[in-house]
């Protein structure tokens, strides 16, 4: 009985299962990591394995030193030969169907490959712990997760009793794509004490019509500085009360790239904008 429990424990720690359902052995600590998802790249750096990264996506900008790592393309449908040319012993992919074949080919070439779907804040904690196991530093992973969770919890309790303004957070203006209920940015808005006007839509970035936007009449628009200038000068957008009254909250738009190690700080920065004068 005790023996079988131990055996299953050993088995459990010897391999993890990724979001394609493939199992990845947790034996040797990797020395050369290719990460083709900006969020996993940030996590790898956060858990202290950044020096081992030998390949990244074209979109990686965090942390700053990742710029010195070779760019292997957009990350979806990767060029498998270009990945193999970096001689990685661990490849991290985003677990979307477009990457399934690449994962299979990389495994067939004998490279440990783990694919994760990191779409929600809960995925961040889950994947960070798994990556900690893979890179051999579960303590660093726990510290990263705990620190982000502590920030999120602090922001959530500070805003819980405050009035929640109606927030519109556009990803794109033509067509209008909003943050939907399926996006982690919706979780950021809620944590920061706001009410996303399109929270009930299940898609992460649903397309919405302009009249629908008028009907829902947001109190504030969260966006980047360039988009603000564009919207503020547009006759059509000026029919929206928040635009006319200049209720823009300017955020660092890289918050919206993925629920990575900066998600706690991101939520805190949104909370400060939504609730000026409140101490966090």
């Amino acid at each position: 009985m005790l023996l079988s429990a131990c055996a299953s424990e050993a088995k459990h720690s010897a391999a993890i299962t990724d979001d394609f359902g493939d199992s990845i052995s947790v034996g040797a600590v990797p020395a050369r990591i290719v990460s083709l998802n900006t969020t996993t790249t940030e996590i790898i750096y956060a858990v202290g394995a950044g020096a081992k990264v030998v390949g990244r996506t074209a979109y990686d900008i965090f942390p700053a030193e990742v710029k010195n790592v070779p760019d292997l393309g957009p990350g979806l449908h990767p060029n498998v030969e270009a990945v193999l040319a970096m001689h990685p012993d661990l490849v991290l992919l985003y677990a979307s169907e477009t990457n399934r074949e690449a994962a299979r080919q990389l495994r067939a070439a004998g490279v440990r490959t783990a694919s994760f779907r990191i779409d929600r804040i809960s995925d961040f904690a889950r994947v960070t712990r798994l990556l900690g196991q893979l890179t051999g530093d579960t303590l660093a992973a726990s510290v990263t997760v705990d620190s982000v969770n502590a920030t999120l919890q602090r922001v959530r309790s500070a805003t819980a009793t405050l009035p929640h303004p109606k927030v519109f957070w556009p990803f794109w203006e033509s067509p209008i794509m909003s943050v939907g209920g399926g996006s982690f940015v919706n979780e950021i808005i809620e944590t920061a004490g706001g009410k996303n006007i399109f929270a009930e839509l299940p898609a992460p970035s649903p397309t919405v019509s302009f009249e629908e936007l008028l009907r829902r009449d947001p109190d504030v628009i969260v966006t980047g500085a360039r988009t603000q200038a564009k919207l503020a000068g547009d006759t059509r957008w000026r029919t929206l009360r928040a635009v006319r009254e200049g209720h823009f909250l300017i955020v660092d738009s890289t918050i919206a790239t993925g629920p990575g190690p900066r998600v706690g700080a991101g939520a805190e920065s949104v909370a400060r904008l939504l609730h000026p004068g409140v101490r966090f």
Binding site: S174, T207, S209, E211, L214, K230, T239
Partner: protein
Amino acid sequence: MTPLRWTLLIVLLVSSMLIGVMFGTLRLGMHDVINGLLGHASEMNNSVVRTLRLPRVLLSALVGAGLGAAGAALQGATRNRLAEPYLLGVSGGAAVGAVLAVAFHAPHALIPVIGFAGALGAVALTLLVARAAGGHGDARTVLMAGVVVGAFANAAIMVALANADAMAVRGALWWMMGSASDASWTQVATLAAFVAVGLAILLAMGRAIDVLALGDDTAAGLGVNVARVSLTVYVAGALLAAGTVSAAGLVGFVGLLVPHIVRLAGARTHRSIIGSAALAGAALVVFADLIARIAMPPAELPLGAVTAIIGVPFFLALLRRLA
């Protein structure tokens, strides 16, 4: 076309436009709409009617009129019932321009301009290819050249999008499927000028197109300069299509379908086919845009998808009648 049928067409267009202004996500009563048009409603309703819906309805009408008339003239001049303005390379060229603009994050206001430039470039290329192939003024060669330029344009789009981020790809795709959702009064004014000029040229060519139908030799014998008439129709049709594409992206099926409808409705001479195709095309696109706005709230459907969904069964019914 009898005067009664002309009247019916105009009534159809005007009523589709009224319905287009009346309905949307926001519920406005007849009273609000009329007051909104006059500027006497609440500030909100005034701007919904005058800043959002009215330019949108007018832009849709102009897009439909331009595509319908261009399609009718091209089907006549090429003596090919499958001809449509997009076949001249217009759609492909415009899409390349717009997709490049979106993929490289050009300012949004520049997208129509770049799309228009792309359309013109593609039309010029089509005519050059046709000329180089020796088919100067030959309708079939021009159409083939258009297909080749279109295929090349598609390849260029794929290359441009291969490295673009997901949002840019969605933006480019949306543009390629057509939409009047960004309508502004400036766009309405620009496209109105295009449609007025293009339509006037095509209507003026109506007689000559009728003669072309008798065959090139007969037409030449009757004193029609076949090559010049064809070229004028191609260029005017392509300009009309390029103008509509830069205003609302690619709105498929209108240029192909509408000329068939008006011919079935009894239009015989090309002047009346082109004129009635402009009216019917306008009504069709206004109606399609209304569906695009209200069918799937809170989302909007791409206009080109709606025109195709309406167009396909219509076209199948036509095929049965023709077969």
